[in-house]
Amino acid sequence: MENNKENKEATLRQVKMHYCPGCGHTIAHRIVADVIDELGIREKTIGSAPVGCAVLLYDYFNCDIIECPHGRIPAVATGIKRTNPDKIIFVYGGDGDLLSIGMAETIHAANRGENFTVIFINNAIYGMTGGQMAPTTLIGQKTITTQDGRDADTTGMPIRICEMLATLGKPAYIERVAVNDAQNIARAKSAIKKAFKNQIEGKGFSFVEVLSMCPTNWKLSIKDACRFVNNEMAGYFPLGKFRDID
């Protein structure tokens, strides 16, 4: 709105998004932006964008943003936060970015207890490149590189990152949420808000895994994709808190 003052601008820009219908990114974007608005931190927030479907984060978020090399977001964010401890830094990345090519950066940022907020979107597939197997693809799940379904004998098991990070001493907060229905969205929002609040209060590394839909590459209807999160994903990736120092 034109008469809004600069500091009252909303974090989420009122523009058409490029995401496919039913994509979980749109919901996750909305939650992150709303939390930034509610905490009144837009003008001191620096977001770090991934490579993948959310690479255009800066088209949607009305705050300073850096687009990072694939997998390196937690390292880039470390450089930003350490030189600017008074700013609010969020990492937004997917399963290929944070768990495959960037697994080392994710684990070490967590292990150092970097005081920033990570929003990890787990949709069990590489979306932007056309639906390849991700580190979180479920056993038996068909992708264009596991056309008969993911086989644990040749590709290993899906990685449960929250459980792995919870073995480390330094993370302050680790929770897994989902954005497939209204109730889960409400829980996701309160988790993400806590992850930002922790940073403001200097509590340290806060990590929220978001189980998210990719109807296009899952080749499911939007409704069935939302059901897949509950029926298939949440079975292997249980929702809930894995670490909370409070």
Partner: protein
């Protein structure tokens, strides 16, 4: 005169970083540059700056990418295999036009190679080791004092041109100790303001640092044209070299870094033997000081390139000298793998080259 202190090359560049106001350093252990992390892990926190021992070279260069994006002076260092790992990040930093300083203490290669001094990474440094059309400003010191001076200059050049600057040195220069003055850096008041930095968007429109340019279709082409314009400006403004006894020379040795010191001894001995030998020592490897080399070639028609590699810089010498279709005799002495020339070897080669051609 300021007091002189004994320092290794690695310590000199670290001391220079602190003096230059480096706010952030990230690096990963690798020989022969380990004194850098040892020094900076101790000294940077004392002045309120950040040292991080990163989990990998990939992480280190990307931490520098992040720190630099906020306007902080940032540096990383490594040695040859580690610099290869940093190339992806270097390409992004160059593409995003962010300033930073990258030190490569070259060791023998290819592969894991060895830990001796070498100059095998000249191509990687000057031609763009990562993907895409980009350039690094590359500075080559030949003494511990110059390592200090050029590191301070590197931070200013990086800020001035919004471009990564590489200090290209080697395991010998980095490990040897010489007495140096820790001169105060020049004031920074002439450097451009960093209004592009990510500092939170209070009171302004959000800043975005990105290297993806998909739309419109010619967006990336325009970025490349703009970068090319900047690189041409740097080529025009920044070529630096040292010349010794070149004015009347019948033969000029061209060498940078360690071999230039050995070359200096060799041309002195050659003069004693009645051979008019000179030396040109490139200080900027990119931009390559071709204007000076072309100027010298108006009188001198014999050149001897000496490198601790199988011959990399010699290609730039040829490009500079053959540009005008000149008939120039360009000879080479060198090999990779940790070899370095002895003054007598250079002298013998000078005599061989002088003896070969028309007098």
């Amino acid at each position: 005169m300021t007091e002189k202190i004994l320092m290794k090359g690695n310590e000199a560049m670290s001391a220079a970083a602190v003096k230059a106001g480096c706010k952030f350093y990230a690096g990963y252990p690798i020989t022969p540059q380990n004194e850098v992390t040892q020094y900076l892990s101790r000294e940077l926190p004392k002045v309120g700056s950040v040292f991080i021992q990163a989990e990998s070279e990939l992480a280190a260069i990307n931490m520098v990418f992040g720190a630099s994006s906020t306007g902080a002076r940032a540096m990383t260092s490594s040695s040859s295999p580690g610099i290869s790992l940093k190339q992806e990040g270097i390409s992004y930093i160059a593409a995003a036009e962010l300033p930073c300083v990258i030190v490569n203490v070259m060791r023998g290669g290819p592969g894991l190679g060895n830990i001796m001094g070498s100059q095998g990474d000249y191509f990687q440094a000057t031609k763009g080791g990562g993907h895409g059309d980009y350039r690094l400003i590359v500075l080559a010191p030949s003494s511990v004092q110059e390592t200090y001076n050029l590191t301070i200059m590197a931070f200013d050049l990086a800020d001035k041109y919004r471009n990564p600057v590489m200090i290209l040195t080697d395991g010998v220069l980095a490990q040897m100790a010489e007495a140096i003055e820790l001169k105060e850096p020049p004031s920074h008041h002439n450097l451009p303001r960093k209004d592009w930095a990510l500092t939170g968007c209070k009171g302004r429109k959000p800043n975005v640092i990105k290297t993806l340019h998909l739309y419109p279709a010619d967006a990336l082409e325009k970025v490349n044209i703009m970068l090319d314009r900047k690189y041409k400006k740097i080529e025009d403004e920044l070529q630096k070299c040292e010349k010794i006894n070149c004015d009347d020379a019948d033969i000029v040795v061209i060498a940078y870094g360690l071999p230039s010191r050995i070359g200096k001894s060799a041309i002195k001995k050659a003069r004693l033997d009645g051979i008019k030998a000179g030396l040109l020592r490139p200080i900027t490897l990119w931009p390559f000081p071709k204007k000076e080399i072309q100027e010298i070639s108006k009188k001198c028609k014999k050149f001897l390139v000496v490198e601790m590699s199988n011959g990399q810089m010699i290609e730039d010498v040829k490009l500079a000298l053959y540009e005008n279709g000149n008939e120039i005799d360009i000879s080479f002495l060198g090999r990779g793998g940790g070899w370095y020339p002895k003054p007598e070897e250079v002298l013998n080669k000078i005599k061989e080259v002088i003896g070969n051609g028309k007098q």
